[in-house]
Every structure is written in C-alpha cells, then in structure tokens.
C-alpha cells in the first residue's frame, strides 16, 4: 500500500485514526441498538492510497466473496468525500432475522436491509467525524453500486472518481453472527489538504 508522506504526516494520520475511532464507535452503537447485538470494533486503518491500490486496500477476506454495495457522497466546508459500504452477501440472512424482517429473503429484501443498515452506519460515522472537526456535512442520496458482485467490479466501476485518495477503512462484524461489512471513507486530494488544516488545529 502506497502511503504518500507529503499529504499526511504521522501525527495527522494518528489523529485521523482517533477521530474515526470515536466516530465508528458512535456508528457501532447505533447499529448495536438497531440489531440488539454487540458490534466488534477493530482499529481503523487510515492510509493514503492511489486509485490503483484501492483494490489492494480492501479486506482480503472479501477477495472471492460476493458482496453488495452502497455509496453516499457528503460535502461540507469545502470538503467532499464518499462513503462506500460493502456487505458480504452472506450477512443478509442474519440481518433479516435481527431486524425482524418477515417474508422470503429475496433481492428486494436484501436491498432494503442494505439501505437501512447503510443509512444508519454512514450517517452516524460521517456525523461523528464532522462533530469532532466542527464541519456540518450534508449527505447526498445513497446509490446502490451493485448486488451480488465481486469487490473488484464494484471498485472498478468507481475508478475515474478517485485519483489520489485518503482512504479510511473500517471493518465491522457482529459478534457470533455472520454479519460482515466494510465501510470505506474516501477523500480527494484537495479535500485532504483542507481536512489537514483542521487536524493541525486539533493537534496544536
């Protein structure tokens, strides 16, 4: 994974990681209350990567698994980013029973589950980061990138959007349940410069 030292120094990277740590804790709390299960939280990975390395950045476990994905843009104070949420397709059966969805688990229901969970996780995480940096992010409409796809196909479909990108990767699992998802937050190079100014202010 290529880490461009010019864009983010070690102190800043540490600060991003801590801000995300707090934000994803809030997001996990929302999810835990929604599904009534404990959400296992890892240490988030923060890395500055080139577009070409984005595929590599994805969790290895998802390499050969079928996933469904949603993305949602957000913007505020001149900072623009995109949140990308990938669910392992095997997660939906557990999610459906946790959320007490009735009826057969078809694509339509998976879509609803995906949208419901995505809106909770993405909004909580983005708001958590925004609050700490004193930025009010406006969120765009979530867009389905695909159902039952390979990770590579989903990432390739967004290739042109991200040239050099600060990627924050968060991996969530539900304890003892087969629910597994990745949340990627992606910021453009221009936005990273503005984010860094706010980060430096916190570090002072």
């Amino acid at each position: 994974m290529k880490v461009n030292a010019c864009l983010v120094n070690e102190d800043q990277r540490d600060c991003y990681q801590e801000l995300v740590n707090v934000a994803m804790g809030q997001a996990a709390d929302h999810l835990a209350r929604l599904v009534g299960a404990y959400v296992v939280l890892p240490i988030p990975k923060v890395s500055l990567i080139d577009n070409s390395d984005l595929n590599m950045a994805m969790h290895d476990a998802k390499r050969d698994t079928s996933v469904s994905a949603v993305c949602q843009g957000f913007i505020g104070s001149g900072i623009a980013g995109e949140a990308l949420l990938l669910f392992k397709d095997t997660s939906f059966a557990s999610l459906a029973s946790l959320l007490k969805y009735q009826g057969p688990l078809n694509r339509q229901m998976e879509l609803e589950l995906l949208m419901d969970t995505a809106s909770v996780l993405i909004a909580a995480c983005i708001n958590g980061i925004g609050e700490q940096l004193e930025i009010r992010f406006n969120q765009g409409t979530p867009v389905i990138l695909g159902q039952h796809c390979m990770v590579d196909d989903i990432l390739n479909s967004r290739q042109d959007k991200w040239q050099k990108t600060l990627a924050i990767e968060i991996h969530y699992t539900l304890e003892q349940l087969d629910v597994d998802c990745d949340l990627l937050l992606l910021f453009s190079e221009e936005s990273v410069k503005k984010l860094n100014q706010r980060i430096d202010f916190l570090l002072d």
Binding site: Q17, P42, L203
Partner: protein
Amino acid sequence: MNLNVLICDDSSFARKQMARSIPSDWPITLHYAEDGEQGVEAIRAGKGDVVFLDLTMPNLDGYGVLEAIRREDLPAMVIVVSGDIQPDAQERVKKLGAMAFIKKPIDAEKARTVLIQYGILTEV
C-alpha cells in the same frame, strides 16, 4: 506524595487530548503507556494509582489490562475512556472491575465530573 496517574492509549493524539483534560489544579505525576502491555507494566511499577484506559489497542487491549489488574490484584483505580460506547462494552468493563466509563471524545468537564463523583478529586 503525588498520586501517580497513567494515561494508556495507543493514539498520541488521544493521550494529548486526555492529558489536556486532566484538571490543572490536581497535584499528580503523569505517566503514559502506548498499549496494554506497557500499561500493565507501568501499573506493576506503581505508576497507575489512577488509570485512564482506552479499550481498542494493539498488543493487549483494555479488557486484557483489566483482566491483568484483577489477576495480579494490582492497586489501580481504572477509568475507561473509550470510543466504543455500546452498552455491552460499558457493562463488560464494569464487570471486569473498571470504576467508571467516559465516552470519547474526552474533555475537561467530563474528566472533572468523574473524578469528583468517585472522590478522587475534592472540589474546592
């Protein structure tokens, strides 16, 4: 003799934020640990009369530190300061012997409130 206070967090930013939140009128000697293993060592060395403990850390996490304190019967009053604010996490650390739980991000007000609540700091 000053009270020994230990800040145990893997993030340098979080350690700084925590240190800034500690009441300035509190006569203490401050120590730092960058993961759970260092934290347990510091507590064994008597540097953690009061410990501000993070949960998500490499090597040994906060739960592991609490287990070690209990196993070795170390004299430490532990205040967990964590981003993992799920009710389950709060319950687990209380069961493992943590005295209090503070939700990140920490600030001076939250720190003072808890320290006074548990009689560690007396209000003037």
